[in-house]
């Protein structure tokens, strides 16, 4: 099956859900005109990233009755969507969430597990962390959503792969940092390297949507990418600029790549589990 994927590399406005909702609708319109089947927005695309105390006025419940979610679900009648937002649950806990929306339904909700709280990051101060990594079925096959720091760790992509995800949907609000004499920022170089590696190691498509723009002087570098199951770059959005980047991907390539290098077939999760039990001291 061939599907057309859109990377909605936007610059969300901090804590301005109405404006961000309009931006999403504009990108949905453009993507629909380009016959996009699946449009992927970045981490916290509807709310902005460094919300701090503004989280309380900005976070939404992940239910169809929420007006924002309702608008997004309407849009998902036209094409499948991955959107990011600050979520508040019924008990007042906040999460960095990513939702896969399809044909008016919330097909899957992922709550960011790894919240960077070091150096320039302070996510753990404001957000609770999710506690599951799950693949889910879509009309284009089985996928998983991971949010930024989730895929800086090795285990979430690995678990998603073992849970059946053939396409990794990676979203981020990755601040650009680490200038050197290289033509890319250190953070861009790192993310591109690991995403390419995941694609090649898992024989997966790896779709990464990263935001652009600035929040209090910190840049987000964009450069969203799709890597194919051979670890080859299919397409890349520009650095630092808003863009809708569209590419067709051939899901049959996954089978062909894995036939040549059957790493999934030969993977031994029971051995991994046994060793993990030993390492963590579980009897």
């Amino acid at each position: 099956m061939k599907i057309t994927v859109g990377l909605a590399q936007i610059s969300p406005k901090l804590a301005d859900v109405r404006s961000n909702c309009e931006t999403h609708m504009m990108f949905v319109d453009r993507a629909a005109r380009e016959k996009v089947d699946l449009l992927v927005f970045p981490e916290l695309s509807l709310t902005g990233y460094m919300l701090q105390d503004a989280m309380a006025h900005t976070a939404r419940k992940a239910v169809p009755s929420d007006p924002l979610m309702h608008s997004m679900l309407e849009a998902s009648q036209r094409l499948d969507l991955v959107v990011g937002f600050a979520e508040v649950d019924e008990r007042g806990r906040y999460f960095t969430s990513g939702a896969y929306l399809s044909r008016g339904q919330i097909a899957h909700l992922h709550r960011k597990v790894y919240l960077p709280t070091y150096g320039m990051f302070d996510e753990g101060r404001f957000f609770d962390s999710g506690d599951s990594i799950r693949a889910f079925d879509t009309r284009f096959g089985r996928m998983a959503i991971l949010i930024c720091e989730d895929f800086w760790h090795l285990s979430p992509p690995y678990l998603a792969w073992l849970d059946g995800a053939d396409v990794l949907l990676l979203t981020s609000a990755s601040p650009g940092r680490g200038i050197s004499d290289d033509d890319r920022l250190g953070s861009a170089r790192f993310v591109e390297t690991i995403n390419k590696s995941y694609a090649a190691i898992f024989g997966n498509y790896v779709i990464h949507s990263n935001r652009v723009g600035f929040e209090d002087g910190q840049n987000f570098w964009g450069g969203s990418t799709i890597f194919n199951p051979d670890g080859e770059l299919v397409v890349q959005a520009p650095y630092f600029e808003e863009a809708l980047t569209v590419a067709e991907i051939d899901l049959a390539q996954i089978r062909r790549s894995r036939a040549r290098t059957p790493l999934l077939r030969d993977e031994r999760p029971e051995l991994t589990l046994r060793e993990l039990r030993r390492i963590t001291g579980e009897k």
Partner: protein, 279 residues
């Protein structure tokens, strides 16, 4: 033991730096609903580079450059500032601060050169913030990372600005980027000077060279070396201890005023919003 040569580590991709800083200025100025920028042009390399960046970001016709000489300022400084104004085609104005500063100096017989320098820096800040209101223009800062870390600047004077494109560039990187942007050679090549008194140079006043101190700062700050590790890497102990002490004792210049906490929620402590939240 000789210090390691970290010149290559400080080398930046100037095209990438230019792209980030241009977008930074455009984004953060326009976000506020403002189209213009104002900055003090001293004739030195820092404000020259800031000027080139902001002109590229929002267009030279949106930039107000203010020359603010004091009676002892070097004529070269004024000429170099004018060279930038002419090269880029900026709006410009010259405000002589002598009449602002001298009456206070006249009333203060025991004033030191350092205090006079601070008075001048703060007089310039007053002019810039007035022009900011007059032109609806944000004040663009021109303090570099070396100055910020060593505290070589006047609190509420030249350190005051709305946004600063060069605050994360060491002085040697400022020079590199200025060259790449083709800031005129006489400005890039002359010895850095705050021009607060006749014949002053930064390096003489601080008793160090930017070329050396930037390498040490890079290890201590960017690479998170402890002072002991920097000494083990080959830097002189007395030098490292002196620089480390400056970094620590000048921290107050990099922070806002302290607020005594009394209530359940306090500005700056647990009332936490980005500045961008306001726009």
């Amino acid at each position: 033991m000789t210090p390691p040569d970290l010149t290559a580590k400080l080398h930046i991709n100037t095209e990438l730096a230019r792209a980030v800083l241009k977008t930074f200025l455009r984004d953060e100025i326009r976000k506020v609903g403002i189209e213009h920028a104002v900055l003090g042009l001293s004739g030195g390399i820092d404000s020259a580079l800031a000027c080139y960046l902001v002109a590229q970001a929002i267009g030279a016709h949106n930039v107000y450059a203010v020359r603010m000489p004091y009676r002892t300022s070097s004529p070269d400084s004024l000429d170099h500032a004018q060279l930038i104004i002419d090269t880029l085609g900026l709006h410009s104005e010259t405000v002589d601060i002598t009449d602002m500063v001298d009456p206070l100096i006249a009333r203060t017989p025991d004033i030191t050169p350092l205090r006079k320098g601070n008075l001048m820096a703060r007089a310039r800040m007053i002019v810039l913030y007035d022009r900011s209101a007059a032109h609806q223009a944000l004040v663009v800062g021109t303090s570099n990372k070396t100055e910020l870390l060593l505290g070589y600047g006047t609190l509420f004077g030249d350190m005051a600005s709305a946004l600063n494109p060069i605050g994360d560039l060491y002085k040697t990187q400022v020079r590199q980027l200025a060259q790449a942007l083709e800031v005129p050679r006489p400005i890039v090549d002359k010895p850095p000077s705050a021009d607060l008194w006749i014949g002053q140079t930064d390096e003489d006043e601080m008793g160090l060279t930017y070329a050396d101190v930037d390498q040490l700062l890079y290890l201590l700050v960017d690479e998170r070396y402890s002072p002991e590790e920097a000494i083990e890497a080959g830097f002189d102990r007395v030098y490292v201890e002196r620089v480390w002490k400056l970094i620590r004792t000048m921290q107050f210049k990099r922070r806002g005023p302290l607020i005594a906490k009394l209530s359940k929620r306090t500005v700056g402590i647990d009332f936490l919003y980005l500045r961008d939240w306001g726009y």
